[in-house]
C-alpha cells in the first residue's frame, strides 16, 4: 500500500508527517534540526530517502543538511556558496547599486535523475548546483548576467525561490526570482534568458512590461505538460503555453489575485490551486476566510474550496513554497500557514482537515508519495 510523507520546513525546525494512503492518521516526527529556520527540504525523486534541507540562522548562517533515511537522521553537508567571478552589483531599494552578498538558501531542488545532484536557489539571487550530494557547490553564473544589475530585492529579500526542471528536456530549467522575474536555460544552465513577456507590473515598475524586474512569487508545472506553466505573481495569476515565451493572465473570477503559492493537480494538468491573499499590504486571506481556490480549466474560472478550513477570523498567510500535491488517486493537496497549521485534503481539495495546528510558522511543504 502506498504511503505519503509530508516534509515541513518551519521557523524552528523540520517535521516529517507520515500516513498511509488513506491520509487519515498521521505520525509526526520532529522537530528535526530544532531551533533553526528550515527554509526548504525536499527528497530526491530517484532515491526518496535522500533528503536535502536548507538550515539557516541569523546568528550562525547557512547550513545544508542531508538525510539518507527519509528524515530520521541528518548530517551536515557543504555550506560554502561563493559567487563566480568578481561580485557584480544589483539594484538596491534606493536605486543605487549594491554588490551581490550571499545570505541564505531558499530552495533545494534535487535532480530528476541523479540523487547526488541538487540545485540551490539562494539570496542574493543566484543558482548553485552540487554534483556530489551537497558537499560542494558551484554557481551557474550565466543567470546573473541577464540584466542582473536591474534586479532588486522584494520585501522578503532578493531570492531565487523557484527551480523547475523540464522532465522532457534535461537541458531546460526554469527559475524565478523576486523581484527579477522568470528565466529559462536550454543548455543545462550555461546561458539564460528572461521569459517575462506578457507580465504586467503596473504599480511596481516604471515600465510595466519590462524585460526584468517583475515580482514573481511562484511557478508550477505539470510534468506531462512541460510547456505549460502557471505563475502566481505579486498581483495576477498567469499562464504560459509555450514555456514562457508569452504569458497571459488567468485570474478570472478570483476575489483577489495577490498571493504567494500555486500548485498543479498531480493527474489533471489543467487543475490548479492557489490561496488568494488580500493584498500586498495585508498578507492574510480576504474577509478572514481561509479559502483555497481551484480552477479545473487551467485558470479563468475558479471555485472556492472551504470545507474544513476556517471561515472566520483567520489571518494567516501561506508562503510561496508551502503548498504541494501527492501522486495518489484521488490527488492529495497540502499547505502550511504562518499560523503553524498544516492542512491536507485527500480528495483534490473538496474537503480539508488540519494534520497539525500548532507548528511554528510554516515556510515550506513538500510531499513524497512512496510505494
Amino acid at each position: 500500500m502506498s504511503k505519503v510523507r509530508v516534509l515541513v520546513g518551519t521557523r524552528k525546525g523540520a517535521f516529517v508527517l507520515s500516513s498511509d494512503a488513506s491520509r487519515e492518521n498521521w505520525n509526526i516526527s520532529g522537530p528535526h534540526l530544532a531551533g533553526w529556520e528550515i527554509y526548504h527540504l525536499k527528497g530526491s525523486p530517484v532515491n526518496p530517502d535522500r533528503l536535502y534541507a536548507s538550515q539557516t540562522s541569523g546568528w550562525f548562517g547557512q547550513l545544508i543538511q542531508l538525510s539518507n533515511d527519509g528524515g530520521k537522521t541528518w548530517e551536515p553537508a557543504g555550506n560554502k556558496f561563493v559567487y563566480e567571478g568578481s561580485p557584480s552589483t544589483h539594484q538596491w531599494y534606493d536605486g543605487s547599486q549594491r554588490p551581490w552578498e550571499f545570505k541564505r538558501v531558499w530552495k533545494l531542488e534535487p535532480s530528476l535523475t541523479d540523487p547526488e545532484t541538487v540545485y540551490a536557489g539562494v539570496e542574493d539571487a543566484a543558482l548553485f548546483r552540487s554534483s556530489d550530494g551537497g558537499q560542494s557547490w558551484q554557481e551557474l553564473p550565466g543567470l546573473r548576467s541577464v540584466k542582473g544589475n536591474l534586479w532588486a530585492p522584494g520585501a522578503g529579500g532578493m531570492c531565487l525561490h523557484t527551480i523547475i526542471q523540464d522532465p522532457a528536456n534535461p537541458k531546460r530549467i526554469f527559475t524565478a526570482i523576486s523581484a527579477a522575474g522568470a528565466f529559462r536555460t536550454d543548455d543545462g544552465g550555461q546561458t539564460w534568458r528572461a521569459v517575462n513577456h506578457g507580465l504586467q507590473s503596473n504599480n511596481e515598475l516604471p515600465d510595466p512590461s519590462a524585460e526584468v524586474g517583475h515580482c514573481v512569487h511562484c511557478i508550477a508545472m505539470h510534468p506531462s505538460h512541460p510547456n505549460v506553466l502557471f505563475m502566481q505573481k505579486h498581483w495576477d495569476v498567469m499562464r504560459t503555453d509555450d514555456a514562457g515565451e508569452s504569458w497571459h493572465e488567468v485570474s478570472g473570477n478570483l476575489p483577489t489575485d495577490f498571493g504567494y503559492t500555486i500548485a498543479v493537480h498531480s493527474h489533471e494538468p489543467e487543475t490548479i490551486y492557489i490561496v488568494p491573499i488580500k493584498s500586498d499590504s495585508e498578507h492574510y486571506p480576504p474577509d478572514g476566510m481561509l479559502r483555497v481556490y481551484r480552477s479545473r480549466t487551467g485558470g479563468y474560472e475558479w471555485e472556492a474550496l472551504t470545507k474544513g478550513l476556517p471561515q472566520s477570523n483567520c489571518y494567516v498567510n501561506v508562503y510561496r513554497s508551502a503548498m504541494a500535491v501527492d501522486a495518489l488517486d484521488p490527488c492529495g493537496v497540502y499547505f502550511g500557514t504562518t499560523g503553524g497549521q498544516v492542512y491536507a485534503s485527500a480528495d483534490s481539495g473538496d474537503n480539508w482537515a488540519p494534520i497539525v495546528r500548532d507548528f511554528p510558522p510554516v515556510l515550506s511543504v513538500e510531499v513524497q508519495t512512496l510505494p
Partner: protein
C-alpha cells in the same frame, strides 16, 4: 590547551558537550583556535566567520576573562589565562530580538 565553550546550537551541530579542548601552538590567537576548531569540526565552518573573508558573523561574540574580545585583532595573543586553560574562551550567540 584552550577551553572553548560553544553556544547550545553549535554544541548540537558539532555533537560535542558544552566545552571542548583545542590545542594550538604558542602564541595562542583567536584565529589559530578557530582554524583548529574548524578542522576538527568541519560542520562549524561558516557558522562563526565567513569561509572566504574570515570575517566574524555579526551576531557572534568572543568573551573571555570578563572581556569582549570580538573587536580585537584575531591574530593578537589571547589572554594568558585563556592560553593556559585557566579561563575558557566563550563563543556567544549575541542577544538579538525583543
Amino acid at each position: 590547551m584552550i577551553r572553548v565553550v560553544l553556544p547550545l546550537q553549535l554544541q548540537v551541530l558539532a555533537r560535542v558537550s558544552r566545552e571542548i579542548d583545542i590545542q594550538v601552538e604558542d602564541p595562542a590567537t583567536l584565529e589559530a583556535v578557530l582554524d583548529v576548531m574548524e578542522a576538527l569540526y568541519p560542520m562549524l565552518r561558516g557558522t562563526l566567520r565567513d569561509q572566504v573573508t574570515k570575517q566574524r558573523r555579526a551576531f557572534i561574540r568572543f568573551f573571555a576573562c570578563g572581556e569582549d574580545l570580538s573587536h580585537e585583532s584575531t591574530t593578537s595573543p589571547l589572554p594568558e589565562d585563556v592560553a593556559s586553560g585557566k579561563e575558557p574562551l566563550r563563543v556567544v550567540a549575541a542577544m538579538a530580538g525583543g
